[in-house]
Symmetry: C2
Subunit: 217 residues, 2 copies
């Protein structure tokens, strides 16, 4: 049996979840989560910084290949396991690929900044830090504008990049899950976004990730 791929970081981390759901979509079950205790600063030790120089989780190791940054790790997983599991997460066809890339970047550059600001403040702020209603309001307004664009787009096609579930949809899962848990109306009040969210959050791969989180809670 091949050596398991290693993911450094806790399943409670949204970024770790992105990598795990991608592995599950590609039918890769031979992986190992290596604990990194963020509360104890284990992500800032010299040893950890050697494999992830920005001190974030996850880092990723597949035999001699060391990687960081979730979106880069997921691209590697899709390429490495091209012949198994979900084969439409990405594409080599110029037109299909360009649409996937466009919506991957929409996630990274438009959705992610307000979504990560909200998630980090609502769910991961340091103990004792009070809730900042202004920060929440500003970023919810920014996110609402992004979700309005998504609603129009998802009125034209089943998924963000077209007719198939791709990395562009997958990258949204962890933050949408947390944000929908806090305020489901952001998603439900937009007909096409609501329909899309029911679809993507109901995938077996994602339900398995949520199950792993429960078991580790």
């Amino acid at each position: 049996m091949d050596m398991p791929v290693k993911i450094y970081g806790p399943i409670s981390s949204p970024s770790v979840c992105r990598v795990v759901v991608c592995l599950l979509e590609k039918d890769v079950h031979n992986f190992q989560l290596v604990p990194v205790n963020l509360a104890k600063g284990e992500n800032k030790t010299p040893q950890y910084l050697k494999i992830q120089p920005f001190g974030q989780v996850p880092a990723f190791q597949d035999e001699s290949v060391g990687l960081f940054e979730t979106r880069a790790i997921c691209r590697y997983v899709v390429d490495k396991y091209a012949n198994q599991g979900n084969k439409t997460l990405h594409s080599n066809d110029l037109l299909v690929k360009s649409s996937i890339e466009k919506w991957i970047e929409a996630e990274a550059q438009d959705f992610n900044p307000p979504a990560s600001a909200l998630v980090n403040h609502l769910f991961f702020r340091a103990a004792g830090t009070p809730l900042d209603p202004n920060l929440v309001k500003t970023n919810k307004e920014k996110l609402a504008k992004v979700l309005d664009v998504y609603d129009t787009r998802l009125g034209e096609s089943q998924y963000l990049a077209g007719g198939e579930f791709t990395l562009a949809d997958l990258f949204h899962l962890p933050y949408c899950q947390l944000l929908a848990g806090d305020d489901e109306s952001m998603f439900r009040s937009r007909k096409n976004v609501g329909r899309w969210w029911d679809d993507v959050s109901g995938r077996d791969s994602w339900k398995k990730v949520l199950e792993m989180q429960k078991q580790n809670a």
Copy 2:
């Protein structure tokens, strides 16, 4: 002669520059810059929002292919013109590709947030908005940590992803140019970053972009 590809947006925009330098690296000279007057809000008109729903520049049109998000546009250009110009901006080799993707994401997720906050505030803030020394200090500190990681990396290899100039380096050009113009010591005080910056900013493609900016100033 083929129809020119169209880039909607002014050459004064760092994001437009990213696309133009990529076209020049790929020896694509048959392109047209379509004016979009940001000061007059032409990027928020219903007509423009049809081609760029987030109201940003640039948008991109190549015959029937409409795209937005600079990093996605550049990926398309690299694929479409695979057989001409610089052939090492990206790669289909699993290992080479994964290193390029890792450093593309470092730019997008680690370098870009503080760099864009600084550039937008220092060079593009609304008329009458006073300089916020706190914003500048905070983001310079964040950027310094990123450049420290880059300095270590660039002590190991000539460019970010390895021995070749790739999209990972290219994506840094416009913001580094503006930031170096404001405070060159951020780059010069780090030996390997300084060497890299001399190299990448001295490329013919980038010098041509700076020339286009001067002509349009």
